[in-house]
C-alpha cells in the first residue's frame, strides 16, 4: 500500500535519536575498529606475531614499513570520509599519497645502491614474496567488511571511487597490521609486494563499490 508523504514524515519524525557530534567519523571509526580487531586476531592467532617484534621495533626497517602503510591508510581513510558525504568536496589533495610512495622509492634506491648487485634479487623477493600480497589482501577483507557496515548509514554518491578508497583504506590498514607478523626488512620488498596487496584491495573495492554501496 502506498503511503502518502505526510504520513511518511510523521513516521520518520517519531524516530529521531540525537546524533552525537562527528557522527560520521564515529561511524567510520567503529567499522574500521571492528574490522581491525578481526584482522589483528587473524594476525595474532593464525599467522603469529613475529617473535622478535619487540627487538624489531627498535630498528628502522620496521618503522619504514609502518610509516609507509599507516600514512597511506590515514590518507585513504580521510578520503573515504569525504566520499561518504553526498556533496563530496574536491578530491585533488589525494595526490599527496604519492609522497610516501616516492619516499619509499628513494629509500629502496639508497638500500640497493649500498648492497652488492648479487643481493638485489634476494632483497626484492625476500622469503615471503609469494604469499605477502595475497595475505595483505586477505587481511584487508574484515576491515573492508567493517567499512561496508559503516556505509549503511552514510551517503556516497560516487560509488566506484568510494569503493576504491574504502578498499585502499582496508588494504593499507591490513598491511599495517601484517607488519606485526612479517619479518621482511628491505624497502624494495615492501614497495613491491605490500603495495601490490594494497592495490589489489583497492581494485576489489572499486569493482564492488557500485554494487555494494548503493542506497
Amino acid at each position: 500500500m502506498e503511503m502518502n508523504s505526510e504520513d511518511l514524515i510523521a513516521t520518520l519524525a517519531q524516530d529521531v535519536r540525537p546524533l552525537r557530534r562527528h557522527a560520521l567519523a564515529r561511524r567510520l571509526l567503529a567499522g574500521l575498529l571492528a574490522g581491525g580487531v578481526a584482522t589483528a586476531l587473524i594476525v595474532g592467532c593464525a599467522l603469529g606475531f613475529r617473535p622478535d617484534l619487540w627487538l624489531a621495533m627498535h630498528g628502522s626497517p620496521f618503522w619504514v614499513k609502518w610509516i609507509y602503510t599507516a600514512s597511506l591508510a590515514l590518507c585513504a581513510t580521510r578520503a573515504t570520509a569525504s566520499l561518504a558525504r553526498p556533496d563530496t568536496p574536491r578530491m585533488g589533495w589525494m595526490w599527496i599519497m604519492v609522497v610516501p610512495v616516492l619516499g619509499l622509492v628513494a629509500i629502496s634506491m639508497a638500500e640497493l645502491a649500498e648492497a652488492p648487485p648479487a643481493q638485489w634479487l634476494a632483497m626484492w623477493l625476500g622469503g615471503s614474496w609469494k604469499v605477502c600480497s595475497s595475505l595483505v589482501l586477505l587481511l584487508s577483507l574484515p576491515i573492508f567488511g567493517g567499512l561496508l557496515w559503516s556505509f549503511r548509514r552514510l551517503a556516497p554518491t560516487r560509488l566506484r571511487l568510494a569503493g576504491a578508497t574504502a578498499g585502499l583504506s582496508a588494504g593499507a590498514w591490513g598491511a599495517t597490521l601484517y607488519c606485526l607478523h612479517c619479518p621482511e626488512v628491505s624497502a624494495i620488498f615492501v614497495l613491491t609486494w605490500y603495495s601490490l596487496g594494497i592495490a589489489l584491495a583497492s581494485l576489489l573495492g572499486a569493482a564492488l563499490g557500485p554494487r555494494l554501496l548503493r542506497w
Partner: protein, 168 residues
C-alpha cells in the same frame, strides 16, 4: 536541520515538511514523469535525508547536501528502471539549475547576513534585497538616512572581506 540532528522531533518534522514542496519542484522540473514516480522519489529522498542525516556537515550549505541526495536518487531511479536518458538531458540533470542556484544563494546570503550586527544586516536587507530607497529604509528602521548609508557601506565591506577570506 540542526534541531533534528540534536534529536528534536518537532524540528525534524518541520524540516521534512518544508522539504516536500522543494523536492517536488526539483523532480518535476527534471523528470516530466508521472506524479506517482515523482512522489516515490520525493519519499525516497526524505527517507535518505532522515536515515543518513549523519552525513550532513553543519559547516556546509544545507541545500548542496540536499540536492546531492536528490540528484543521486534520481539517477539511481533511472538506473533501476533501466531507462535510457539522452546525453543532453543527462547533462541538464548534473548541472545545478537556476532554481537550485537561487536556493543555494538565498541560504548563503542569509548565513552571511546573520554574521553581521543586526543594524547593518537590516539596512542591507532593506536597501539591497528589498530594493527600498535610503529614505524609506531610514523610516522603516527608525534611523537617520546617513546612518543607513553608513551601515550598508560598513556591512557590505565586512561581507566582502568575509567572502574573500573564504575563497582564499
Amino acid at each position: 536541520m540542526i534541531g533534528g540532528l540534536a534529536g528534536n522531533p518537532a524540528a525534524h518534522d518541520a524540516l521534512l515538511r518544508a522539504l516536500l514542496p522543494i523536492l517536488r519542484a526539483f523532480y518535476r522540473r527534471r523528470m516530466h514523469g508521472r506524479e506517482e514516480d515523482i512522489e516515490d522519489l520525493v519519499q525516497e529522498t526524505l527517507i535518505a535525508v532522515h536515515q543518513r542525516r549523519a552525513t550532513y556537515d553543519p559547516d556546509r550549505p544545507f541545500t548542496g547536501w540536499l540536492f546531492a541526495i536528490a540528484r543521486y536518487k534520481m539517477i539511481d531511479g533511472f538506473r533501476r528502471q533501466g531507462r535510457f536518458v539522452a546525453i543532453g538531458d543527462f547533462d541538464d540533470m548534473l548541472v545545478e539549475d537556476s532554481h537550485e542556484e537561487a536556493s543555494n544563494a538565498q541560504a548563503d546570503v542569509a548565513r552571511l547576513l546573520a554574521a553581521l550586527p543586526d543594524k547593518q544586516a537590516d539596512a542591507i536587507r532593506a536597501t539591497r534585497l528589498e530594493g527600498l530607497s535610503t529614505h524609506e529604509a531610514a523610516r522603516r528602521l527608525a534611523l537617520g538616512e546617513s546612518d543607513v548609508k553608513v551601515s550598508v557601506h560598513r556591512g557590505l565591506k565586512a561581507l566582502a572581506a568575509r567572502v574573500r577570506d573564504t575563497w582564499k
